[in-house]
Subunit: 359 residues, 2 copies
Amino acid sequence: MKTLEVALGERGYPIHIGADLLSRADLLASRIDGRQVMVITNETVAPLYLDALRGALDGFEVHECVLPDGESHKTLSTAEHIFETLLSVPCDRRVTIVALGGGVVGDIAGFVAGCYQRGVGFIQVPTTLLAQVDSSVGGKTAVNSRLGKNMIGLFHQPRCVVADTGLLATLPARELAAGAAEVIKTALIRDAAFFAYLEDHIDGLLALDPGVVATCVARCCEIKASVVAEDERERGVRALLNLGHTFGHAIETGLGHGEWLHGEAVAAGLCMAADLSVRAGMIVEPDRERVRSLVERAGLPTRGPSTLTPERLRALMQVDKKVVDGAVRLVLLDAIGDAVVRADYEPAWLDETLRTQRA
Amino acid sequence: MKTLEVALGERGYPIHIGADLLSRADLLASRIDGRQVMVITNETVAPLYLDALRGALDGFEVHECVLPDGESHKTLSTAEHIFETLLSVPCDRRVTIVALGGGVVGDIAGFVAGCYQRGVGFIQVPTTLLAQVDSSVGGKTAVNSRLGKNMIGLFHQPRCVVADTGLLATLPARELAAGAAEVIKTALIRDAAFFAYLEDHIDGLLALDPGVVATCVARCCEIKASVVAEDERERGVRALLNLGHTFGHAIETGLGHGEWLHGEAVAAGLCMAADLSVRAGMIVEPDRERVRSLVERAGLPTRGPSTLTPERLRALMQVDKKVVDGAVRLVLLDAIGDAVVRADYEPAWLDETLRTQRA
């Protein structure tokens, strides 16, 4: 087991990474204050791992809330269902909420933990590659509006993250690829050597080679933990973690949340960001091709969906948390391994990217 | 104009109290970062004061969201309506949300400000006595669930509070009395001399004598600001501000939110807390009578509603943010002007209080 620390003072917490961690009662119990635990999971994950988690929570009063699977359920009305489940028990303000699932479960469970009785304890047990390498770390929580992705939420740090890489064995190939999109994103932002490693090992990651998985999860968590420690509430450098996401969120909202997986939309977004970076003279064409090729080898879309026009995508991009005073700020690439936020690109370049990077 | 400071470091803010402040553009503009403002108000307040507020916001891009009036609308679904209004504009993360209204408007607008794009700026312009003396200060935000009052929310401090006492002129007598309940509560918690002042001046408060109103609003805000500065997130002393509220919330939830005004339920709760304090040997009967008499003179209920049985109230009190590991902690009185949190009262005393303090 490898343990990383997210250095946030009194809100700091450990990330445990390794195989066979789900049964480690000690990792959980040391981060739970009260006697009540509410496990939030979904219909796909519950039959696989809920019993094992319950075993690790022996001695606590454990309740559970099993959601339908999928991004389309990451809504305020699902959150309301969870609030009512908590109130029906009733769970008091010392309850700890445990998210057992992927990014959707983690985001909505974290949102509920941040709002229930103005904030209760929260633990992440991510079961997907995407959640283990990205969404379970850093305290971003959210639900979607039909008008925009992740527009309703708050920062609420978990008390710990338990990333059991053994759980990925049951993950469908499509979900695994979606997680790889965030791995590629993380390398693109900060670590050219890690990007090169992925070019050599993407097949091993998708085949769940234990060494490659452990390396990827740990490296992504290290990078994310350091960025979050530097800028918890995204007033600066943390925005870089959204590489590909302004494009991706527009795709998700435009198609309807859940049509494409989040990682699939981000993958196309990475290719769009690389394309725009070439047009802006920031990277050269071979770099764009390296991005496109790696995304393609991961089995991910390299272009936006044919059903969304450039005009529609452009309008959807205006509803994004990185819009300030009307300008869409985008994360672009100064090099592979070096991302920057830019608002000074030519609008015509963005139009060209949206027009050409469409299936 | 009197200005108090809530001493919360980088989250600190001023409370401005005085007549004719709504037109003071300078007070607002200095606390607004971006160019967009969303005013949240309700159908009762909008015709009275929205134009004046718009005048004071000249130069900003001002949007508005007018809610139906009343506690029954303080729900997640109303919050969702506000989120969609913000997204439809679209408002970006530099938007400032201004609450123009009473406690319901302030609570839900603050909740939305805390969650929209993970937190945007927020200004309170309270238009009721209750909001000016209590709910607009301190950063508590919430919506109700049908299963419990204020159970969904977060701490999100405003950038400033502008309490224009002139706005109270249009307040219905019932609402004014409801606000007086929180004034009485504040005195009971911390300031015996202020309680004695209220015994002499309650008629002046209800008649909106300008000197009495100014004294009451300022003294309540001083006390609240000092308690909040000491304990922003209610880990200790701040809980005292909930005197009467565990009883009151149970009444509100039991009757259906909005049937009794919040202040009316709190008033009955104050009398119940005083009654239980006598049974616990903490205060003497003449003190209880002083509380009851002042509440009665304010035109407020001194007992719980006849339609709620003691058993039902007792069950509803179990769903309260002050319940820890199953025990209902209550704020009781060691003296008039000195409140304490107690969980060690005899259950039979509480039963007696619920049985005898019923209309």
